[in-house]
């Protein structure tokens, strides 16, 4: 049986892992390669690296980091942040990434989703969507969640699916960093609207939250960052708890 995936996310800036609350107040959380190895050993099913370096130097560091991660771990990993062209994708895949995530660039140029999936296949393309509830509507936000767009989240999800995305990484900015649980409503609606897997992100604080979001028909995978970095939740314990709740996971 296909299992639900637990995915630690590592926000990376200039070669270090960082974590903030509601996209702000960054704290250092360690060496990304060491963390990746630790997570792989502890039973993570995949990893996601989101680069938030603003500089060219930081981007170069990222390529070296991707190579180091690919050499160190034997589970799939995704790299996102600042990818805006087919050539950026090629650099990351050649360095050993399995998938890339695009976010703002897809909103700016939706054709990029078609281009990347035609060139490399849907399987390597994750479209990341940051969503926030604004005046009664779930709206897509870009640029690390700072810029609202006019795109409604469910219809945008459907569009990227049709354009060839292989997977959607849906982050609720309302829930991110709160540890009060994932965004069940919007995640359910996105998941029902598309035929591709959906990774839920934002708000996971304990095993109950993961069980809620991974329950039948909602998310195919759940992602979290700081609770894993700071060992507030151990991946092995989390998976044991999910199994006890009849949610299929790989142990």
């Amino acid at each position: 049986m296909l299992t639900k995936r637990i995915i630690p996310c590592l926000d990376v800036k200039d070669g270090r892992t960082v974590k903030g609350v509601n996209f702000l107040e960054l704290r250092d959380a360690g060496d990304p390669v060491e963390l990746a190895e630790r997570y792989a050993t502890e039973g993570a099913d995949e990893l996601v690296f989101l680069d938030i370096s603003a500089t060219l130097e930081g981007r170069k560091t990222l390529v070296e980091m991707v190579k180091a991660v690919a050499a160190a771990v034997h589970i799939p990993f995704t790299v996102g942040g600042g990818i805006s062209a087919v050539s950026d994708v090629r650099v990351m895949l050649d360095a050993g990434a399995d998938k890339v995530a695009i976010n703002s660039a897809a909103v700016k140029n939706p054709g990029l989703v078609n281009e990347i999936s035609a060139e490399f296949g849907s399987q390597c393309l994750v479209v990341a969507i940051d969503t926030k509830y604004v005046d009664g509507t779930d709206l897509v936000h870009t640029h690390g969640g700072t810029k609202p767009t006019k795109l409604e989240t469910v219809s945008w999800s459907r569009e990227v699916c049709e354009r060839g995305a292989g997977e959607i990484l849906l982050t609720s900015m309302d829930h991110d960093g709160t540890k009060n649980g994932f965004a069940l409503d919007i995640t359910t609606r996105v998941s029902k609207a598309v035929s591709i897997p959906v990774i839920a992100s934002g708000g996971g604080g304990n095993a109950v939250h993961f069980a809620e979001i991974l329950h039948n028909g909602i998310a195919d995978a759940a992602l979290a960052a700081s609770i894993f970095h700071y060992k507030e939740v151990e991946i092995a314990d989390l998976k044991t708890s999910l199994l006890q709740n009849n949610i299929p996971v790989r142990i």
Partner: protein, 194 residues
């Protein structure tokens, strides 16, 4: 040991190379027929779309080279599908090594691609020595081989399908062994020992 990875325009082999390095083998990436014929073993990777992958193989005459190889040969993911007769993916004629047709998963109540860790059963392959029944390996694919006489391990996603197969010297795996943690490394190691 001389291990050749088939070079053509379909997917990145960086992770596969790293995994083989860890097992003490330094593979060569080549599209040279002489290199491929003289290798002790050949791995045929693949990601992406079938028709463009087949075009890339034919452009270099690799389609005829691959079907004529006599040494242990391992197709991975799209590589496995290209070894078959044809695939529903853009109605592509493939290499014809395995006389089976590749079908598409129907996204009717299931998500497509089939992406993630799934368990394999009915294990019957030298590649699976030391791998336990029900082990999880990592899959990413939208098309599948039905279970057939060449199947050496099964997996189920909506329907049962071929996870591993063997016909003579031709072995193949639908999942990504280089991304499948310990069971995946065991499969690669067993292939190297054939």
């Amino acid at each position: 040991m001389k291990l050749a990875i088939v070079k053509y325009n379909a997917g990145n082999v960086q992770s596969l190379t790293f995994a083989l390095n860890r097992l003490g083998v330094d593979p060569i990436l080549t599209d040279d027929p002489d290199e491929l014929f003289s290798a002790d073993k050949v791995i045929f990777p693949g990601q992406g779309e079938a028709s463009s992958a087949m075009r890339s193989l034919k452009r270099n005459g690799l389609d005829h080279v691959l079907t004529g190889l006599k040494q242990p040969f391992l197709g991975v993911c799209l590589g496995m599908q290209l070894m078959c007769e044809r695939t529903e993916e853009n109605h592509t004629e493939c290499l014809g090594i395995i006389p089976i047709q590749v079908k598409r998963f129907i996204p009717n109540g299931i998500k497509v691609p089939h992406m993630g860790w799934n368990d394999i059963t009915k294990l019957n392959s030298p590649l699976l020595k030391g791998v336990q029944e029900g082990s999880y390996i990592y899959f990413v694919h939208s098309y599948y081989l039905p279970v057939c006489e060449y199947t050496t391990a099964e997996c189920t996603y909506d329907v049962p399908f071929t996870a591993l197969l063997q016909k003579d010297n031709f072995y193949a795996i639908q999942a990504h062994p280089e991304k499948s943690a310990e069971p995946g490394m065991a499969i690669l190691e067993n292939f190297l020992k054939l």
